[in-house]
Subunit: 572 residues, 2 copies
């Protein structure tokens, strides 16, 4: 194909966006930003999308069957699962003007995911034990009202996703299939050329199960996730579920005298460390939470000052599904003080207390005074506050933390999620009353899994992963074209024209830069920016040796290849 036919032009002056993928894809003319979080795929980008889709489709066809569900769904579907008011990125659709609303004033949902659609659909067709297991997938456009779209194709309001849903009559069958999907995903990432840099990381299983879901995370300097990997076993965890033990911090050898400090307005770890001249890791911050647990509607939680609360861990410990920081009123009732002065000394009886294990070894620590404007210094276990029998891991893991089971320091690295597999168990089948009839005629529950892979997101991650200072370096399997062909001089032009056809006849996709209004130098720069795996230059000089100059995008040196050897050379 000729460059003049692909519509776009590179824009070397394009601004820097908040991510490498947005910057390079826009600069290279792969995508155009229609608005924040919403993109048009230009010819180059669209070709890559199609290739990623086909790689995914090829693997999915081995373990499921393709369908295409709609973008719109009835509100009732979301009321039925109780998620209409719950999903915080849900979009609705309605008539945009008076003319449109006059004949149809109904509102619909613009699906961010399809459990609400696929479950009733499956229920229509498959009810007998003989019908199981089965799995349906689609490659389809999703819409999510992201508060802050960012990182180019990594987090948008509109994106293309492959979503697979599987249905099972037993937990064993579900688990077997779950492993099959893992393998299928590994095959996909291998074809995409990112398998070696991708790990399978455990992540939260949501509020309805204590089991993990799993994310395929590709190591990436600008990745939005921090992965904690156990060096000995290579087990990996998303930060949100990484169990963590704080590395030891030197402590005083003797207890100091307790001090009550009246410091009005000193609130927050940073503030009080400055005022009292202590380290954050010598302070204990106390938080009060309200929960949806009947037994424990209010809980007190304390962490070392340099750690943040991990609400997922806390909810698992309490066995609840929702928590939020307590209101002023509740804090006042529990601690006797305004917000900002909660501590673990002299706490009211009857409210459960959960202390993070990082505060267990502390000597002479600071905590709130449970009295407005008061903090306490040099608090000590046993002397000032009873040491609980049990401490918990309720902190968000930090770099340098240890894996609880083996006491190894985690390897940590940034990564971008490229796929996510999720045990849904009976979350949707139960509420939507989807059961199967077993051999003996009895009705039994159905288990589900869902498995996502963002097509447009993978495109973005590929760019984050595969680029250098000059532009993108596409893996062969997804490159918009295999070869970018450049000519210099009139003979070069003539030979390039023939060569384009020859190469295409041999199954190569060729982007021939036929533009006559820019210099060869600019074309070289563009070729690097666009990043096809091979650059071929044909000029009077190379032709004088019956050759062309071939350079691989991921190598720095070019080589002169005889025209007669070119095809075999490229096929290697």
């Amino acid at each position: 194909m000729k460059y003049s036919q692909i519509f776009t032009k590179t824009d070397k002056n394009a601004k820097q966006y908040d991510s490498v993928n947005a910057t390079l894809l826009i600069k290279g003319g792969f995508i155009d930003q229609t608005m924040s979080g919403v993109y048009t795929f230009l010819p180059l980008g669209n070709r890559i999308l199609r290739k990623i889709e086909n790689i995914v489709r090829e693997e999915m066809d081995k373990i499921g069957v393709e369908i295409l569900m709609p973008g719109l769904s009835p509100k009732e579907a979301w009321i039925n699962t109780g998620r209409l008011e719950e999903v915080d990125n849900l979009f609705k659709v309605s008539g945009a003007n008076e003319l449109s609303r006059r004949f149809n004033s109904a509102e619909y949902i613009l699906n961010p995911t399809h459990e609400e659609i696929v479950t009733p659909l499956a229920k229509k067709f498959r009810r007998s034990y003989k019908d199981f297991p089965f799995a349906l997938y689609q490659i389809q456009t999703k819409y999510r009202n992201e508060a802050r779209p960012k990182s180019g194709l990594l987090r948008g309001r509109e994106f293309i996703m492959k979503d697979l849903y599987s249905f099972h009559t037993s937990i064993e069958d579900f688990r077997e299939y779950y492993e099959k999907v893992k393998q299928s995903y590994w095959n996909i990432f291998e074809k995409l050329g990112i398998k070696q840099d991708t790990v399978l990381a455990a992540a939260s299983g949501g509020t309805f199960t204590t089991e993990f879901s799993h994310e395929f995370q590709t190591k990436c300097d600008n990745g939005e996730d921090l992965i904690f990997q156990v060096p000995s076993t290579k087990e990996a965890f998303n930060r949100e579920v990484a169990s963590s033990k704080a590395p030891e911090v030197p402590q005083d050898s003797e207890m100091k005298k307790i001090e009550y400090k009246n410091e009005p307005g000193v609130i927050g770890v940073e503030d009080l460390c400055r005022v009292f001249n202590i380290e954050a890791n010598q302070s204990v911050k106390t938080l009060i939470f309200e929960t949806d647990s009947k037994e424990q509607p209010v809980v007190i939680v304390a962490l070392r000052g340099d750690y943040d609360i991990n609400e997922i861990k806390l909810m698992k410990i309490i066995s609840c599904t929702k928590i939020r920081l307590a209101s002023d009123e509740v804090v006042k009732r529990v601690t006797g003080a305004k917000i900002g002065y909660a501590g673990i000394v002299n706490l009211q009886e009857g409210v459960p207390v959960y202390l993070d294990d990082a505060i267990e070894p502390l000597i002479n620590f600071e905590c709130g005074g449970n009295r407005t404007d008061y903090h306490i210094l040099n608090v000590n276990w046993g002397r000032d506050v009873e040491k609980p029998k049990k401490f918990y891991d309720i902190k968000i893991a930090k770099e340098g933390d240890l894996f609880c089971e083996t006491n190894e320091v985690y390897d940590t690295f940034k990564a971008s999620e490229v796929g996510n597999i999720f045990p849904l168990f009976d979350k949707f089948t139960k509420v939507l009353k989807y059961t199967f009839i077993d051999k003996d005629g009895s009705e039994k529950p159905i288990l589900m899994g869902c498995y996502g892979l963002g097509i447009t997101r993978v495109l973005g991650v590929l760019v984050e992963k595969c680029h250098d200072e000059n532009g993108i370096v596409w893996p062969y399997a997804v490159a918009p074209f295999h070869i970018q062909l450049l000519h210099i001089g009139d003979d070069g032009y003539k030979r390039a024209k023939e060569l384009e056809r020859e190469l295409e006849t041999n199954g190569f996709e060729v982007l021939w830069d036929d533009r006559d209004d820019i210099s060869a130098g600019e074309k070289f720069v563009d070729a690097d920016l666009i990043g096809c795996p091979f650059r071929i230059v044909v000029s009077d000089r190379t032709l004088s040796q019956e050759s062309v100059e071939v350079k691989k995008r991921n190598e720095s040196e070019s080589s002169l290849v005889a025209l007669s050897d070119l095809i075999p050379f490229l096929k290697v």
Copy 2:
């Protein structure tokens, strides 16, 4: 592929929908209705969609380049073209619940078409005369707030469309490309097997041009359009723009005495024909319209009672872009009577009158009395009302009408639109200030065309076109599978298993009905319903002759084909 793997089952008890395509596609398990006007494409349907897409893509790639624009667009894009309040099926998108709106309360448009997106996009990349012409297309999902979705896949609220947009620097270049697109569409319809039953019909060019747009209309018993074709030239017109001359109706030879009738409450042609015992074609109905024309803000229009007003024709005559039936007040002012009693006798001076040419030959006709509760019988030209110098064609054509230019009676037939090509000229480029820089450095206007082809609609029309009383009869090029394979008996099962692989190795797509819980008879019925081009049965009986039974879906007789001849037989 095994039938047990395609997820769906046929549903012979499925209800009758309002169209053949909905009924057969749902019955056969090709699609599922998610809600009114919104469908899920099940595995069988999805395979067909993909085939249609690929046929379309193959042709489009010859005359344009593929991109993918988003479903969402900013409201501003629609404000810029003035269409935010104008497009009567426009959908908007906003946060569906409080959580969602809390962080982003913005509203977006869910695109029903993409001129608002593609024009600014083109403007970003192509400004020099050297950049033209060019054309961009996409295959993408559209959303329209249809007042009343109907006819299955023919008119939905969500559908897949191929939309192509072309940009030109001269009218000659535009016209040349327009012809190229026509040819491209003919190639597509030929591949889809419907070319011979499809006509290119002129249709309205919209309010901004007096030129026609063109629709590809496929003859179809349940088609939603009525096409008027000139027998001698084969020129075809959509009803909305078919010029029409009414066939002659016998008239009295002498004028009768005029009669003024006081009949309170007799309003409308049907009513007064009954009361006065006359034919509708002997009555004249008079309508008052308000328009957006400065010179003619109100016009009087009269038609023969058996014809309806064609507003498109009327607007062209008046040179206005909007009309509506006049308010009670305006009617009262113009006619001196309440609505329902307007006539063409004793009209107020100064209001323009447009009379349809079907009323010119009338003798002793009825019309309203321009006085509340009064009608007049036996009105005559010359005697009772001055005969105007000019009559107009402002009626909606009816079956039996004549083509004005040649006085031939039109051939009329029902048809379904499968494609539509539209000269936009400078409608969007002008308002969006998209100009090009010519050789001499001057800025000049750009002309546009847009060209639609509904992928899901074509699927629906194919079913409307290609079915019999037993089910669908898919054209080979789009059939979900080429062959439906059935076995009878244990040997049949074993041989079918081998045959499936053999046929697939030879490039055939095979749906093997491997179900063991239904009878052979039911499988035969299902095979007809699903409608693959070939049905192959392998049984002990056929095997005893080293043969299989082959039946083409569009033939009634099956034949015994030796296994050794099968592949060549099928390839014919």
